[in-house]
């Protein structure tokens, strides 16, 4: 792993999708009037004949993607996470998930990474997609993981939902990092720990920063990256929970139905008696604002994870103060 401040990579998804399409003629790229915003201007400019702009018509786009997939194409569908989940849920369920088609739905601006308010903040996309049979759900954390995930989800024969922060993406992992569709990775930790933090996507840098603060204050901490929320790597997660006194999940998503729920189900069904706290959006719609403002106001900060662990472990000293969050560059606009 690299150390913060992380370098960033610009548009790793857009670059990777084009590289994939150059190798695989069956790959098509669909969008809904957000071409530059979903990094697919790169694809459109290079291979215009395999790029289709469906306009602001997401339900129709999903139906078209399903037809293309039935005809043998691997179809990447790109728009904001809110629009490719909420707006076309029945179409995804019946036209894509049920027939188990090769449609990869890529939803940008997950959780509170959009300043555009509740209409643009995909806070329950994982819960919706996770509930659909046949659907794989991916929330990658860094530029390398995104690059590898594009290939992995194309190789997987069936529907996938992948949520992506757009634009400037941090490079957290070393070149040896391997993204796999059935694996969570222990990023730091040991055989027995006080607290196990399980996170995904944009919460990974936050989880790592929280872990460093906890370790500095004598709390033995394990951090697990769970970029595939469905199917969850329950073996890795249950084993880590079994060897920890307290489990904290951290997700840029409502605490209902996402990573925290998936972890809760896994450890409860395995009969592990670990106590659990879910850091995430507390069953509320948020508001407009900068990412730093929103992550702080809605409890997605480093300090929120530190405090959750501290209280969970019943440590009676004052909660250590975590360093201020790193501001990742790149201006964010609602479109």
């Amino acid at each position: 792993m690299r150390e913060p401040p992380y370098k960033t990579v610009l548009k790793p998804y857009g670059q990777s999708l084009l590289a994939l399409a150059r190798e695989r003629p069956e790959v098509l790229c669909l969008g809904a009037d957000l071409t530059r915003q979903t990094e697919t201007d790169i694809f459109r400019d290079a291979i215009p004949e395999r790029f289709i702009n469906a306009g602001m018509a997401e339900a129709n786009m999903i139906g078209i993607a399903a037809g293309l997939a039935r005809a043998g194409h691997t179809v990447f569908v790109n728009t904001f996470g809110v629009f490719c989940t909420r707006r076309c849920y029945d179409q995804i369920a019946m036209a894509v998930a049920y027939p188990n088609l090769n449609v990869k739905i890529v939803g940008f601006m997950p959780g509170l990474s959009s300043p555009g308010g509740p209409s643009h903040q995909a806070i329950e996309d994982v819960a919706l997609m996770r509930a659909l049979p046949n659907m794989t759900v991916v929330d990658p954390a860094d530029a390398l993981e995104i690059t590898q995930a594009v290939v992995a989800i194309a190789d997987h024969p069936g529907p996938v939902y992948m949520r992506l922060k757009r634009g400037e993406i941090p490079a957290i992992f070393d070149d040896g990092h391997r993204f796999e569709l059935h694996k969570a990775q222990i990023l730091m930790g040991r055989e027995q720990s006080d607290v196990c933090i399980i996170a995904a996507g944009m919460m990974i840098p936050t989880a790592l920063a929280a872990a460093r603060t906890l370790e500095d204050h004598g709390v033995k901490t394990t951090v697990i990256n769970a970029p595939v929320i469905k199917p969850l790597d329950t073996a890795t997660i249950v084993a880590a929970a079994r060897n920890s006194r307290f489990v904290v999940t951290a997700e840029n998503h409502t605490v209902l139905g996402g990573l925290g729920s998936a972890v809760a189900e896994a450890i409860a069904e395995a009969g592990v008696a670990a106590r659990l706290h879910r850091v995430g959006i507390k069953d509320v719609f948020a508001e407009s604002g900068s990412r730093e403002f929103l992550f702080s106001r809605y409890g997605l900060g480093i300090q929120d994870i530190v405090a959750a662990a501290w209280h969970g472990l019943s440590i009676h000293r004052p909660v250590p103060v975590a360093p201020a969050p790193e501001i990742i560059p790149g201006a964010y606009s609602p479109v």
Binding site: F285, P334, V335
Partner: protein, 269 residues
């Protein structure tokens, strides 16, 4: 609302643009084009006294236009200038895309294509309550791509006898994120589409306050629902904006802000 002369409405439109330019300058980018194209539409609607405060309802379907609504609301004394200055800031009441916190408007949708359905709900409710409350709904041409608009359109004409008076106005500025609407979808013939869905259609110059006022005034209780297609320019025909600027999401540097401000102030002089 006041009932104003055409010259007053033109001044109101210029003031809407001036407010919006100042508000977008706070962040240096934003939904300025939406205010530039819709300034006369809203000036005529609110300044012309068509919407009776506390009685009629106003639905703003594309929430990205809320900046223009804030501007007209401030000009009509419903919002303070201090509130306008907070537009788009962290924790501010006036958010860049309309939400449930948005003041004064009866309904606003940040997710496009949903406003006409809500407006129909208000119009049905007026009829059910036996109240004289009209419903005005502002739509944009880009959101015509969403199927829900047409589900609503065919419902409204079928059920018009169960609805209070409903007037839709479309800002047809031919602008969406990816470029001209006409480059993305077959939107035209827009008037014929609405007509074939059972609506009475008026197709007007959306920067002509008299044409807009005349169109709004022609609404009647016992005909089809009325849709006013207001043909506009995303730059509001402002000469100070270079054509290469992305009208959907204008990046407003200080030079452009100065040029626009002087053009608007000259219009108000």
């Amino acid at each position: 609302m006041r009932d104003q002369k055409p010259s007053d409405l033109r001044r109101l439109a210029a003031k809407i643009r001036l407010h919006a330019t100042k508000m977008v300058a706070i962040q240096g980018f934003g939904y300025l084009g939406q205010a530039l194209s819709s300034a006369e539409i809203l000036a005529a609607l609110f300044g012309g006294g068509f919407i009776r405060a506390g009685r009629d309802r106003f639905v703003l379907s594309p929430g990205h236009y809320v900046i223009a609504f804030y501007a007209v609301a401030a000009e009509l004394g419903m919002l303070s200038p201090a509130e306008l200055a907070s537009y788009g800031k962290d924790g501010a009441l006036l958010e860049a895309i309309g939400t449930e916190r948005t003041p004064l408007v009866d309904m606003v949708c940040g997710s496009l294509g949903q406003g006409l359905s809500g407006a129909i709900g208000f119009a049905l409710a007026s009829h059910l309550a036996g109240e004289d409350r009209e419903t005005f709904v502002f739509l944009s041409d880009g959101e015509m791509e969403e199927g829900q608009v047409w589900e609503a359109a065919m419902f409204a004409s079928r059920h018009r006898h169960r609805m209070g008076r409903l007037v839709a106005v479309i800002d047809a500025n031919n602008s969406q994120v990816d470029g001209p609407v006409t480059s993305v979808a077959t939107i035209e013939p827009l008037a014929d589409k609405w007509r074939s869905f059972g609506w009475r259609v008026l197709d007007v110059d959306g920067h002509d306050v008299e044409a807009l006022s005349g169109a709004y005034a022609s609404r009647s209780a016992d005909s089809e629902p009325l849709v006013v297609i207001a043909r506009t320019d995303i730059f509001g025909r402002m000469r100070s904006i270079p054509p290469a600027v992305d009208g959907h999401f204008i990046k407003l540097d200080s030079a452009l802000q100065r040029a626009m401000t002087s053009e608007l102030e000259a219009a108000l002089a």
